[in-house]
Amino acid sequence: MDKDAFKHIEDKDLLAKFYTDGNNQWLGILLQRYTLLLLGVCMKYLKNEEDARDSVQQVFLKVITELQKYKVEYFKSWLYMVAKNYCLMKLRDRHGKIPVELTDNLVAIADEPERRVEILAKDNTLNAIAESLNELNDEQKLCVTLFYLQKKSYQQITDITGYSLLQVKSFIQNGKRNLKIIVEKKIKQR
């Protein structure tokens, strides 16, 4: 099926069409938008090409079945959660438990984008971000500043700091998450 033919239709509209007429073909168009991402996510956690491919097919099956049972509001976040949870189960079957380094990343909760941007609407947020940045640890503060304020790519940050690419990514991700928590706390206190 030609992906570009339906490019102009948003995910939520495709889902609405599926819920209206129950035609699985809408799901096909929607899911194939995420095949590459799903393959990457499954590969990240399972570290095996064959397993990753099989898992993507299993995730497809799960999604097709689940979407017929209930309505999903934020498809992309939900799909990411389904894929991560599937990998988690697979790892649990494989090892009997989940490797420690993955447990932190695998807390799969579907985010609601509306709630996340809410915080930006507040006037005093910018001051709070500037203040909170200093409360991050040195690595996170450095990587977040280089990435968001100085617009350096991951590779450039790696060259400047000497950290590995994975470390840089992790410092940015965790720094951003921690910063959000600190800012939210500060705004609530004001």
């Binding site: 590459l36 570290k47 984008p113 947020t125």
Partner: protein, 142 residues
């Protein structure tokens, strides 16, 4: 100031498949890389995916795998649709059979009643004509 807001912004801009493949091939300038990385940083999905895709030994195999997975997905969906349609036809087949049976019973009932009535009429006619004959014979003999 926009940069400060960028840190907390989670407004996800979709990274296209093409952009991702170019990023994986390392076929981009630092500025172009940064644009994609910024989009990735706002989305755990894209971020995890890139990490996983970088682990593939052969990047052309990634594209082939995606094509194969999509093909299988559509095949699977088509066969599900076929099964659904067959089930629908099966269900509607039973309705049709039930309707035909009811119609058959109605027609049979109508025919039986009609025959019964016809017999009654015939009996009445034959009784009347027998009576008429005996009356006629009686009048002739007298």
């Amino acid at each position: 100031m926009a940069e400060w807001k960028d840190i907390l912004s989670d407004e996800e801009e979709q990274v296209s498949e093409q952009e991702l493949m170019k990023y994986l091939d390392g076929d981009l300038s630092e500025e172009e890389k940064y644009v994609i990385e910024k989009k990735m940083a706002a989305s755990g999905f894209e971020n995890d995916a890139v990490e996983g895709l970088q682990q593939f030994d052969d990047k052309t195999a990634v594209q082939q795998s995606v094509e194969l997975l999509n093909k299988n997905l559509h095949k699977q969906l088509a066969s599900r649709k076929l099964r659904k349609d067959k089930r629908k036809l099966k269900d509607s087949g039973w309705v049709l059979i039930a309707a035909l049976i009811i119609l058959g019973v109605c027609i049979l009932g109508y025919v039986v009643i009609r025959i019964y009535h016809q017999q009654k009429i015939n009996e009445a006619v034959s009784q009347t004509s027998a009576k008429n004959i005996s009356v006629h014979r009686a009048s002739v003999s007298s």
